[in-house]
Amino acid sequence: MTANGWFQIGLYALVLFLITKPIGVFLTRVFEREKTFLDFALRPVERLIYRLCGVDEGKEMRWTEYGTTMLVFSGVSLVLLYLIERVQHWLPWNPQKLANVTPDLAWNTAVSFTTNTNWQAYTPETTMSYLTQMAGLAYHNFASAAVGIALAIAVIRGVSRHESKTIGNFWVDLTRCFLWVLLPVCLIGSMVLISQGVVQTLKPYATAQLIEPQTVQTQGADGKTVTQTVTQQVIAVGPVASQEAIKMFGTNGGGFFYANSSHPYENPTPFSNFFQMLLIFAVPSGLTYTLGRMTRSQGHGWAVWSAMLALFLVGVSAAYWAEARGNPQLAGVDQHVSAMHSGGNMEGKEVRFGIANSALFATITTDASCGAVNSMHDSYTPLGGMIPLVNIMLGEIIFGGVGSGLYGVLVFVILAVFIAGLMVGRTPEYLGKKIEAFDVKMAMLSVLISSLTILVFAAIAVVAKFGTSSISNPGPHGLSQILYAYTSSVGNNGSAFGGLNANTLWYNASTAIAMLLGRFFVVIPILAIAGNLARKKMAPASLGTFPVTGPLFTILLISTILIVGALTFFPALSLGPILEHLLMNAGKAF
């Protein structure tokens, strides 16, 4: 670990703090339909969309209708993506003449991108045409992000309104998010990324003559060793920058290339890396300010933000420490940091990012539901790789995904005030609303669906041949691979312990179910809470009201998150990463 490494991490946290308020204020204005500086250009487009699609922008929806329209939109756009994948061979912008995607993979991918997961069981360079990437995958990066943000806004409305039957209009929230929030940032963001070297072209893959042709020995089909000379390098390109910007800003995380943000064409420089990391947390962090502003309790917004920041800093410190420490099994290798190199565990990491920026990125991408990677989590040290896993298991509420992070953390906020209420023996209240049995039941339902799906699927996969045959790293690491796969799909994260062969019928089918449960079955109970809270009367705060601002509440919220997460997952973690850590230090390899 170096002073510069800590400085880069500190600088990131500082810049994040500085952008939180401006973004939060802007989001509030957009969704409260106040004036913004973009209205002159976007308002006509917005009106046109409503006219074309038959949307009545003045109409408000109950939570059930809001939820239904969200599901219908997600379903329709999912089917369109599936169709594009299945017929891409006959469509334009397919210069590499890639074949139609197979049904199970197309289904898995359609679910994956619709749920904002971006789990990728395929190698994009050799599977997806430019059209599929642009109009199918990148489009869903926008759509699923807009859905997530709209849902969060609806939930905040539920908290802030009283004696109201409705929580907003889904179509309006969706459209305004597309136009006001995602479009401007992605246009500018993609230009920043291109300036750093991210490609953006529709030309076919380029061919380069190698500077030094290589003689390589490969196994032929008959098992004999064949010697061949490689003189060329086919370089995959494509419309990358436009997808890259929304991939980060919408916390989607699906790479244009297999290597994701470790690929030099997706993330060419340390600055592009910093910029991408900032895009991930921008909206989730801003939404905490929006929460405070819309509920007229800015202190509450900051209390939630502080809990998130604290958990983030603990995670990144642990991951940085573990990766900088390196792998003791690599004998004769200099892993000590110096001015000349970063040292540490460099397997699966890029030189330009080194240890600090890899650990920082891994923490951020799993705190949020992003899942982009700039280094391969499968090759992390056991404890370094456990941090991303734990981040997702906690529910991706450390800033979290766009929208999903905020409505996810509100579940824990409700549980925290409920626990506080139990401790002092009074009916718990949240921002003037009484929290009653229905609300707590729904909150617990949402938490239980995630944990249950992860553990049940992982349990099936570790005892069945179709589950274990995909393991690439034997020993306790194999359990971590399976655990990570289901945690990532339920959490709609999309990062992976990538050695696991996930493109099998079992994994394509089971992770698709896990992703759907993790997205829609988690959010519906939360919408129910929002609808229920919106109906309630405001009770004036009294001496007995537990405050949801200030350090005491922040600590209570952190404790709730950690206790729920730890109780659920500690046994599984101790058999996976923790056991592997002990065995690694004892010199065991598998």
């Binding site: 003689t215 030099p264 004769g332 700039n374």
Partner: protein, 192 residues
């Protein structure tokens, strides 16, 4: 319900047109206009032939070149490898431990005096990392200088020229671009 389904279909089509087609095409247009070299992949041309990209690493094996990091992308530095570019080997995987041990033995024979920097025996996540650490370049200077029959001091100066400091003095890690360094080496000190 029927009305919602109709709206959902229409809004999906309209936004797909806007964000799935117009937006990426606009970015492509603007990118090609303002940053043509970057938007096309930073290709390096020599006598009208593309010899690589400054961002995509290449494999090197002879003594006369600086070697890139090991790569798990196909047969090495293959950007379209069907299984991607990462080894995805876990920290307690025997394959990783054995691979590193065998690489360490080879490198130790080549330069017994120096410690072996970790990036020289580990694969990158992309399998396409065009860069090595300054320590990894320093480690190879004796071999390359001997092969090119040039002084280590001259070679060290050339390496220094291709060493990038932290971006803006803050971001990332110092690094040496192997592709550009080797191209310059060929131009200024042809192989004997």
């Amino acid at each position: 319900m029927k009305q919602h389904l109709r709206t959902a279909i229409l809004i999906t089509l309209v936004t797909t047109l806007l964000f799935g087609l117009l937006y990426p095409l606009a970015v492509a247009g603007l990118g090609q206009l303002f940053f043509p070299s970057q938007a096309n992949g930073g290709m390096i041309l020599q006598n009208g032939v593309v010899v690589g990209s400054r961002l995509i690493g290449q494999p090197f094996s002879s003594d006369a070149y600086f070697h890139s990091r090991p790569s798990a992308a196909g047969n090495g530095y293959d950007p379209v490898a069907a299984s991607g570019g990462a080894s995805n080997l876990g920290p307690t995987n025997k394959q990783l431990v054995d691979r590193v041990r065998s690489d360490v033995e080879k490198l130790h024979a080549e330069n017994p005096a120096a410690a072996i920097p970790v990036d020289l025996v580990t694969t990158s996540g992309s399998g396409l990392d065009p860069e090595i650490s300054p320590a990894a370049a320093e480690f190879q200077i004796p071999r390359v200088a001997k092969s090119r029959q040039m002084s280590e001091t001259d070679l060290r100066a050339l390496v220094g020229k291709h060493t990038l400091a932290r971006q803006l003095g803050i971001f990332g890690e110092p690094r040496v671009n192997v592709v550009e360094l080797n191209l310059e080496l060929d131009a200024s000190h042809p192989k004997h």
